[in-house]
């Protein structure tokens, strides 16, 4: 009886009792969700255009952030390091397309998925070899990112908003809008959508698949860089961030593998859901439920919509 009370009544009493705490928790979940959504966005870009479930997105994020910080440590000014990192991501996209994707065209999905695992291992080794395995601090000030916090006096208490979190939300918003415009309005964007729709048909109207793949992997690399900077500013830049990237997977399937708005909405649901769950329901189970709650939330949604919230309906024919 008391367990039922603890699960179904008590958390809500707590929420109503301290609305400022609730607002703080929701805000933290929101920011976490935005960052999950950014990682998921990188996945969606590549999945849409090449049908590859790119497991390496997480390590690409770490690798980009490491390159940026590592170059700056070696004495390169921040702006030049940023440009150089973008260059590195372009070279990476070229290399992946030429060495990994092109020989594996038309292979089953699971083979391509595994190939991105190989890429992950390779990048982990390369990143540690070049920049060392120790956590690094993100160069926040040199990139003109704000720090500090704003304290809002609302709801009978104080809600503290980190400025970097606000910046993260704005950057994420700009990026999603930018990518949306890019997909809808530009020539390459149309070509990308054509490729996503049907590889063969796209080829037959003269779209170069190889070129498109370089473009999407480069775009995913830029998204990875932005995500890496923002995650890096909240915690340190280290290989542990790669595990955080796994959280993007439930976000991804919750939203639907092919949908950009899905990635955003999924990110917010997972982010807020997991923070609320950890804060209000976590103590009942002994804490730490954050590590699996996201997956269970996603699973619960999937049981009702197997293709995710915004995914294309799966039509099966014999």
């Amino acid at each position: 009886m008391s367990l039922i009370y603890q699960i179904f009544v008590d958390p809500f009493v707590q929420m109503a009792g301290a609305p400022d705490l609730l607002a703080q928790t929701v805000w933290e979940g929101f920011v976490g969700g935005v960052l999950y959504a950014l990682i998921a966005l990188g996945f969606v870009l590549i999945f849409k255009a090449s049908g590859v479930f790119n497991f390496a997105q997480g390590i690409m994020m770490v690798f980009a952030a490491l390159t940026l910080v590592g170059l700056h440590e070696k004495g390169v000014p921040a702006w030049l390091a940023l440009i150089a990192t973008i260059g590195v991501m372009y070279v990476l996209a070229l290399g992946v397309e030429r060495i990994v994707l092109r020989p594996l065209v038309n292979q089953p999905d699971i083979i391509l998925f595994m190939a991105t695992f190989g890429l992950t291992y390779f990048l982990i080794g390369l990143g540690e070899l070049l920049f060392g395995g120790n956590p690094k601090t993100m160069i926040t000030e040199q990139l003109y990112l704000p720090s500090g916090a704003i304290d809002l006096k609302i709801l009978g208490g104080t809600v503290s908003l980190q400025k970097i979190d606000i910046a993260a939300a704005i950057i994420a918003l700009v990026m999603v809008a930018g990518l949306g415009l890019f997909f809808q309005k530009t020539r390459i964007g149309r070509a990308l959508r054509a490729v996503a729709d049907d590889h063969q048909a796209a080829l037959s109207v003269g779209i170069s698949l190889n070129q498109i793949w370089v473009v999407v992997w480069f775009a995913a690399g830029i998204v990875a860089l932005a995500t890496g900077i923002l995650w890096g500013a909240r915690s340190d830049v280290s290989f542990a961030l790669q595990i955080v990237a796994l959280k993007a997977l439930p976000v991804l399937i919750l939203g639907g593998l092919t949908s950009i708005p899905g990635a955003i909405v999924g990110g917010l649901i997972i982010g807020i859901g997991e923070k609320l769950g950890e804060f209000y329901w976590g103590p009942i189970f002994g804490g730490g439920i954050e590590s699996w709650l996201a997956y269970v939330i996603a699973l619960a949604f999937l049981l009702f919509r197997p293709q995710g919230l915004f995914g294309e309906a799966i039509i099966e024919r014999i």
């Binding site: 390779f122 390369l126 395995g133 014999i318």
Partner: protein
């Protein structure tokens, strides 16, 4: 030359469908078994037995289990490490409750516990497919790992949070715990793995295996042909988790001797999936080949710089190992996406018609 089947006539359907229809295959298998059971324990040193052969066999068993699920039934799973953990913890709990019962009984029983948990987490597979299912199995991975760390009952309230294996004997010889010799443990593991591989090979060649393969190739078509999807998929989850669970129990009881929850983390799941895919989806031989490659390759790579006289720091070697492993995985996938088992088959075919090209 010597590998030729001329003169071997098959007079019955059973002979035609035998797993090893060619006499040379049977002789070869016999030689391998003699080598594994007699030569290696006699000739091998502690390092070979402890760090190469026992882990190789344990991983092979787990890879067979995952192969049943992913290779034969087409259900992608990223939670296999957690099921190894279920096997290990179940065996630990059972053997501390009833320490006087033969440990082999508990190793098999822990497989059944793992099987039950596997069926539970396999339920969503009926509605969710492909990568969506893979992420759903991640729920099992993270939830179970959380349980191993947070439920004190599972590790008997040890202050270290780890499970430790006490000594159990079999026919008067210690087989687990610190007193067991590597050769004894190796022989026990080898016996179990050989028996279970034989069993798996029979399952996948029979009615159940064909049912699974029909589900893999197209589940709706299989359903139309009268295969009950729910039963087929859950059976695959049950059998697969059984194998993986036994492998987990073997890993802790006969290889490591103690384990923390971290031993069953997501990286182990990925490693097992690598073994299955590099070895060849839908092949029992492939599971062994894949496990050998993925387990032994990094050991070789670490030893290589010292052998050729290069003096690199251990951290650098570790990083280079990562890079080379990653590159080799991509290389293998490009050269032979169907895995080492396919190369094995091609090699055998070439040998059969030698010296003619076909």
């Amino acid at each position: 030359m010597f590998y030729r089947e001329a003169g071997q006539f098959k007079t019955s359907y059973a002979a035609d469908m035998a797993i090893f229809p060619i006499r040379q295959d049977r002789i070869g298998l016999g030689l391998i078994l003699i080598g594994a059971f007699v030569v290696i324990p006699l000739a091998g040193n502690q390092f070979l037995l402890n760090s190469i052969m026992i882990p190789f066999l344990v991983f092979s068993l787990a890879a067979i289990g995952l192969n049943i699920l992913t290779g034969y039934t087409g259900l992608l799973s990223l939670g296999s490490a957690a099921f190894m953990g279920v096997g290990a913890y179940a065996c630990y709990k059972l053997s501390t409750f009833f320490p006087q019962v033969n440990i082999l009984v508990w190793i098999v029983a822990s497989g059944f516990v793992s099987s039950a948990v596997g069926v539970f987490f396999g339920l969503p597979s009926l509605r969710i497919k492909g990568f969506y299912l893979a992420v759903a199995t991640l729920a099992a991975q993270f939830f179970l790992q959380w349980c191993f760390a947070r439920v004190p009952w599972l590790y008997n309230d040890n202050t270290s949070g780890a499970i430790e294996v006490s000594t159990h004997t079999l026919f008067g010889l210690p087989v687990t715990g610190p007193n067991a010799t590597p050769a004894t443990r190796y022989l026990v593991v080898l016996t179990i793995v050989a028996a279970m591989a034989w069993l798996a090979s029979n399952i996948v060649h029979g009615r159940i295996g064909r049912m699974w393969m029909a589900v893999r190739d197209m589940d709706i078509a299989a359903q139309l042909m009268g295969i009950r999807l729910l039963r087929a998929k859950l059976l695959a989850f049950a059998v697969s988790s059984f194998y993986v669970g036994v492998a987990g129990a073997l890993m802790v009881f006969l290889w490591l001797g103690a384990a923390e929850p971290e031993a069953f983390n997501i990286n182990l799941s990925f490693l097992l999936l690598f073994m299955v895919i590099i070895g060849g989806l839908g092949s029992i031989v492939g599971a062994f080949l894949g496990a050998a490659l993925i387990h032994i390759l990094p050991i070789l790579l670490r030893a290589l710089p010292a052998l050729v006289g290069l003096n690199l720091g251990s951290a650098t070697i570790e990083q280079l190992t990562f890079m080379v492993t990653g590159a080799l995985i991509i290389f293998f996938l490009i050269v032979e996406p169907l895995g080492l088992a396919r190369l094995w088959r091609i090699g055998k075919q070439k040998l059969r018609v030698w010296p003619f090209p076909y």
